[in-house]
Amino acid sequence: MFIESLGYSLLIALGAVILGFIIGVILAVIRICPKNNPIIKILDKFAELYITVIRGTPTLVQLLIMYNSILVVFKSYKTNLIVPIIAFGINSGAYMAEIIRSGINSVDAGQMEAGRSVGLSWITTMRKIIIPQAIKIVVPTIFNEIIILVKETSVVSYIVLKVSAKQKWDLLGMAQKQGLATPACYLTFLFSAALIYLAVVMLLTFVQHLIERRLKKNER
């Protein structure tokens, strides 16, 4: 019974990580861009505002706002997994943006100069030279964010999840549901959920070390 719930938790986390990463890269590049035209200045202000607001409000509040506003727009829906994915993705994007920005900033300025000196444009140099190096630098911090995200998906138990019109539960939601059905074992279910989260995070840490080692080997 926990397997399916774990699946939903991980699916939400995965979707949110992908969305968050894309948002993060875009925002980071906008923020780092030379501010030499008005459109970029406006985009930069927007990125700043986005990061301020998202980092400044609780994830749970964001999730509930997203859930209720989508509820208003689409009166009924059969599957609503997309709501937490978007909510967590938008949330994570703000943090990822700052992580990736710090990574870009720590790449030697000579790399950009070298790219420009052979005639590559700013954006091409970013894409081919700077961002790949920045990503390598921020792998540990990104994984930190992914781990936080995986655990943070447990707040979806505050909303009703639906898949093909049936109500479903995420990992924590399932533990609570089972616990309420058999109050004597409530703690046992919570501990089980905690252990499963722990196992997932340990697995992620393992993957992180694998990736770090692989990236290092690439340079030898």
Binding site: D108, G110, Q111, E113, A114, G115, R116, S117, V118, G119, L120, S121, T124, K128, I129, P132, Q133, K136, N218, E219, R220
Partner: protein
Amino acid sequence: MKDDRLLKVKGLYKYFGKIQVLKGVSCDIRKGERIVIIGASGSGKSTMLRCMNLLENPTYGEAWLDGSLLTPVDPYLHFDIIRTSRTYKKMMAGTDGSEKADAEIIAKIKTEDLLHEKNEGLEYLKAMRAFRKEHGMDINIARQRTGMVFQHFNLFNNLTVLQNLTLAPVELKLKTQEEADKKAMSLLERIGLPDKANAYPSTLSGGQKQRIAIARALAMDPEVILFDEPTSALDPEMVGEVLDLMKQLAEEGMTMVIVTHEMGFAREVANRVLFMDGGVIAEEGTPDEIFNHPKSERLRNFLAKVL
């Protein structure tokens, strides 16, 4: 305006905040010339070099490549443009309109930096735009034709040696991947490092890195290569291999502008030496003139310290 002047800088001024690094530098570089720029650190030689491909934007002044303007138009260098400005017209109205008054007013406008784009009227803006349109060149195109070699090599750390050489030609659609690979391999063979094609820069010595950086510049078939202290970050035993490669290029007729502290190299390779001091070109001449018959006290002092 076609002539054999490949690179031209005119009236370059550069401020970093309040510090004035360049104080009006002008210089022409002809095809096939090998210019060596010497001078104490802080004399502005690297800044001047970096203005030639706009890695540094000069505060005033212009840089030209092969008859095309790289920098924004500097109105102070074009009297015709100054004459279209409101400031000039206003000042001119109060005089007899003679040539002398014209010259005086232009000089005053230049020295006191009186032009302010927003207040100079439509005719002035039109003149600026027309000049830019006629002579302007996209900086990325200009940089494809101008190689640059850095003090700290700046090889792309995330790419193999071969990819370092092929990225720009392929990305800019100047060559297909096969053509670029072939050219890159022949360049690597030439510098004696074909076995390093698939190595990453972090595994190479400084001398190897710098030779590959030169090969990366050559892979673009540049018309001129700028060298920014190419041997300053090298261990002494590796300086020779880099200088040898540069000598080979010189013999093949490559146009080169070199900022260096290697006086022996300068004497041997340069056909013109510029001595920079305090943000200006203090003296220029053949290596013989500069090293054996220095005219100014400043140059004599400098040479006494470095030779």
